[in-house]
Each structure stands twice: as structure tokens, then as C-alpha cells.
């Protein structure tokens, strides 16, 4: 009984420590619940980096110029590298990379909603690189304050590379906007497809006291704060080049000091969280295929 109480006191002290900005290293003691929350959070991040390359991979052979093709393959290598760094963090917390990958290809792993959809045209690749990566940077910048210091440090490098991706995407979109009217239509259609996806990207407006990751300071900002930050930066950038955001309710309310918008489709996000999105099955199947095809390399490396 006394031991159990000691444990509770220790967890409470840890909670106070991280609440006041304390940093935790991989070799430090941490409560089991904190460890499990970190594994779940960072594993999903790693899976997202790995699954995020698949929609873009589809466009390597169809990229309009050799420069776009090189930029796209460089972006894909970045994302795969991010996945590796993040799986290492998960592994140090106690779950091996191969266990994460086996969960992923068995359909038990989670990854970000944006990567459960199909792409329609080259304009989608520009919109994804610009806006999905910009949405990700907003989250990842906030993670630089994470209580888990190895994660916060890894985010420095990841944010630096994501900023190239945003430039690459915005450059591709601007090029099309300056092109023919058909190219501008393609960009507008891509924005129409991806806007609803972006509006749920940061997750539902969960109250801070119910958000366990926030309580542990694994992340430092609420979902809604991140979404507002994303809208404040990107809405003017979209509007200034004549793109129409497909939400008639979207406006900045001066009195409330926040963006108002139509209620996003949370049911679709919930379906995706169960791995039942529009392209989920084919993406996981493709990942399974490449995992099996690479088995001989892993076997060779073990000996």
C-alpha cells in the first residue's frame, strides 16, 4: 500500500514538473501513462510521415517538369527520413520499429487524415505540399515546446525541411494560377477537394482539460488554437491570388478575435480514425506490398 502511494506521489510530482515546463529525457523516469501517450502520439506522427509519401509517389512519373520531379523526390526522401527519426524515438520509449510497421500494415496503426484520400490532378500535389505541410508545420512548431525533449529537438530539423515543402507547394500553385484559365480551374478544384480535409486536420475542438496530450505537455497548444493559427496565415494567402475558399461561413470575427467556419464533417474524420477512409485500404495494401518486397533486405541486414 505504501509503495502504491509513493508511486502516486511520484506521478503527481512529475505532472507538476511537466506542467511548469520541465523537460524529460529518454533515460529519465516517467509514468507509464506518459510513456504510453508518447508512444501513441509519436507513432502516429511517424506513420503519417511514411504514409504521406504515397499520394506524392503517384505523381513522380507525372510531374510536369524535371525540376518538379527532383523537388518531389527530394520531398519524399525528407518525409521518409522524418519517419525513421520518429520511429527511433518510439523505439527508445519501448516499441520497436518493426512492431509499429507490423501494426501499420495490419491496419491497426493510425495516420493523419490527409493521407486517406486520393489525388485528382497535379494541382492537388501543389495544394498538399503547400497547405497540408503548412498545417503540419503549425502543429510541429508547437511541438518544439514538448515536455519530451528528444521529440522537441527532432522537431527542429523536421520543421526546417517542411518549410522547403511549403515553398515547393506554393511555388507550384502560383505557377498554375499564373497559367491558363484551365490551370486556374484545376487549382480551384484541388482547393475545393482539400479544404474540408484541412479543416479537420488539427482534430476536434477538445476542451484542454479533456486533452490528455495537453495535460502531459506532449503538445503545448489546443487543436482549435492550431486551426486558428493555420487559418490566420493561409486564408489571406489563398484569397490574395483569387482562390475561393469553399466555405461561405468562413470569416474572421473581430469581436471574438477568431475565425468562424461551417461545422466540419467530423463523422468522416471518425471513420478515418477507424482506418475506413476513401483510400485507406489501397494505401495500407501498398505499404504491405513494399514491406513484404523489402523483407529480403532486412533479413540480409540481420546477418
Amino acid at each position: 500500500m505504501a509503495i502504491k502511494e509513493d508511486e502516486e506521489v511520484r506521478v503527481e510530482l512529475f505532472r507538476e514538473y511537466v506542467r511548469h515546463g520541465g523537460k524529460v529525457e529518454a533515460t529519465d523516469w516517467m509514468p507509464a501513462e506518459y510513456r504510453q501517450s508518447l508512444i501513441r502520439f509519436i507513432e502516429m506522427h511517424a506513420n503519417s510521415e511514411l504514409m504521406g509519401v504515397l499520394p506524392e509517389r503517384d505523381w513522380i512519373m507525372r510531374a510536369p517538369t524535371i525540376q518538379r520531379k527532383l523537388a518531389l523526390t527530394a520531398k519524399i526522401q525528407d518525409e521518409a527520413g522524418h519517419a525513421e527519426l520518429l520511429y527511433r524515438l518510439v523505439e527508445d520509449l519501448g516499441k520497436p520499429r518493426s512492431a509499429c510497421l507490423e501494426d501499420l500494415i495490419a491496419g491497426r496503426g493510425k495516420f493523419h487524415n490527409a493521407f486517406h484520400y486520393r489525388t485528382g490532378s497535379w494541382a492537388d500535389i501543389g495544394i498538399i505540399a503547400w497547405l497540408v505541410d503548412a498545417a503540419a508545420i503549425v502543429s510541429q512548431n508547437a511541438l518544439r515546446d514538448s515536455s519530451y525533449a528528444p521529440y522537441a529537438r527532432t522537431m527542429q530539423k523536421i520543421c526546417w525541411e517542411e518549410s522547403f515543402h511549403v515553398m515547393h507547394g506554393r511555388d507550384a500553385v502560383l505557377t498554375m494560377v499564373n497559367g491558363t484559365s484551365r490551370q486556374r480551374e484545376m487549382v480551384q478544384e484541388a482547393l475545393n477537394r482539400w479544404w474540408p480535409v484541412l479543416m479537420v486536420f488539427h482534430g476536434p475542438d477538445t476542451p484542454p482539460e479533456k486533452d490528455r496530450d495537453l495535460q502531459w505537455r506532449i503538445k503545448s497548444k489546443t487543436n482549435e488554437e492550431l486551426r486558428q493559427e493555420f487559418l490566420s496565415t493561409q486564408v489571406p494567402r489563398l484569397r490574395e491570388i483569387g482562390l475561393v475558399i469553399p466555405d461561405p461561413e468562413l470569416r474572421y470575427d473581430e469581436e471574438q478575435g477568431r475565425w468562424l467556419y461551417s461545422e466540419p464533417n467530423w463523422d468522416e474524420l471518425r471513420a478515418i480514425a477507424r482506418n475506413q477512409g476513401p483510400a485507406t485500404a489501397e494505401r495500407i495494401a501498398f505499404r504491405r506490398l513494399t514491406y513484404e518486397e523489402g523483407r529480403w533486405v532486412r533479413d540480409l541486414m540481420r546477418h
Binding site: A32, A74, Q77, L85, R88, G94, S98, F164, N178, G242
Partner: protein, 203 residues
């Protein structure tokens, strides 16, 4: 390592190779190698290649250090200098005939950076000297890592760490969007929108 490791130690999850800790000295930014993170590799040769890809690709470096985690000790509190092996699989101390490299951080959460090489050739001697140094420094170092100097694999070849080829795709053709943005903004001006469409259809 942590308690949670126990739940995943089944044979089916034996990943290949071992863990290497990576230190990077960024070109023009760092004066000493700083800890960047780690990677898993089958051997030290591949670890060097991976380190270059993961850490040196988008940011040119003057130096990359690759250290097997099995060769690192941590002192989490220099006022009570007890060295803990970063991993269980440990090289016997008496086999080490080398000086020791010391890494430290003064500020919580910051990456560990190389401080100096100590002349001591035993772990206990190095731990004592490092702990003393940590407390005498202003501000004092709060956490230290030690490794035998001979365990550090160094890549400092500028041909590999900042070749022109890498720099060319870092900013492919440049992303200077100023001119493009100025043109694109014209589409955002309501008065121009209708007529712009016509121009393009004629073209």
C-alpha cells in the same frame, strides 16, 4: 532501458543492427558537434551513410560523429557522478585503452554538445574529471555523456558533406516567388477577374 521495453521483447521484433548516436557540426552554425538524434544501422559503415542522409542532406555539415550507443555513459546529475550505460550491452571497461570525449548540456532540453577530450584513460577517472569540470563551469553542466574517444567515427570530408550537387536541390531553381506572387495577386483583385478569364481564352 525503460520498463515498457518488456512488452515488446518477443523474438519476432528483433530489429536489425544496433543504435548509433549522431552528432552534427553544422556548417557556419556550430563550433562543436551537437547531438542530433540516433539511428539504427546494421554496422558502422552503413551508420555513416545513413547519418549523412538523415542529418547532412538538407543542411551541410563540417563534421558528423557516429558513436555506437553501447559505448556511451550518461551522468544525469554531475553533483552525484554515477555513470549509467546508455544501453545494457556494455564493453568491459578494462578493454578501453583510450582517452574520453565529454558531451554536456547546461540548459534543460538543449542538445548535448561536445565539450572536450579528457586525458584520463579509465572510465572512473574520466567520470570524476568530467563531473568536476561540469560543476566548475558557468553555468554548470546538468547532464553529461562520455564515450571512449576511439569509439567516435568521424566524417569530415567536405566533398561528401557539402558537395555542390546537394546544394543545388536544396533550393531547386530557387523558390523566390516574389515575381510570381505579384502576377498571381492580380487574379485576386475583383475588378480584374472577369477580363482576365477572357484574355486567357483568346490566348
Amino acid at each position: 532501458m525503460p520498463e515498457a521495453t518488456k512488452s515488446h521483447t518477443d523474438v519476432q521484433y528483433q530489429d536489425e543492427g544496433e543504435i548509433f548516436e549522431i552528432f552534427q557540426q553544422k556548417m557556419r552554425k556550430d563550433t562543436a558537434p551537437r547531438h542530433g538524434g540516433n539511428l539504427r544501422a546494421p554496422d558502422s559503415e552503413l551508420a555513416l551513410h545513413y547519418a549523412r542522409e538523415f542529418y547532412g542532406r538538407r543542411e551541410e555539415s563540417d563534421r558528423l560523429w557516429v558513436v555506437p550507443r553501447a559505448m556511451l555513459w550518461e551522468i544525469s546529475d554531475p553533483t552525484q557522478p554515477v555513470p549509467h550505460a546508455l544501453t545494457g550491452a556494455m564493453v568491459p571497461q578494462q578493454d578501453i585503452q583510450t582517452t574520453f570525449a565529454v558531451f554536456g548540456r547546461a540548459q534543460a532540453g538543449a542538445p548535448l554538445a561536445w565539450i572536450l577530450d579528457l586525458p584520463e584513460t579509465t572510465l572512473s577517472g574520466a567520470v570524476e574529471a568530467a563531473a568536476q569540470l561540469a560543476q566548475q563551469s558557468v553555468p554548470p553542466y546538468r547532464r553529461l555523456w562520455l564515450c571512449p574517444r576511439s569509439a567516435i567515427l568521424e566524417l569530415a570530408d567536405s566533398d561528401l558533406l557539402h558537395p555542390p550537387l546537394d546544394r543545388s536541390y536544396r533550393r531547386l531553381a530557387g523558390y523566390n516567388i516574389r515575381e510570381k506572387l505579384r502576377t498571381a495577386r492580380q487574379h485576386g483583385q475583383p475588378s480584374l477577374q472577369g477580363s482576365e478569364e477572357k484574355d486567357d481564352d483568346e490566348a
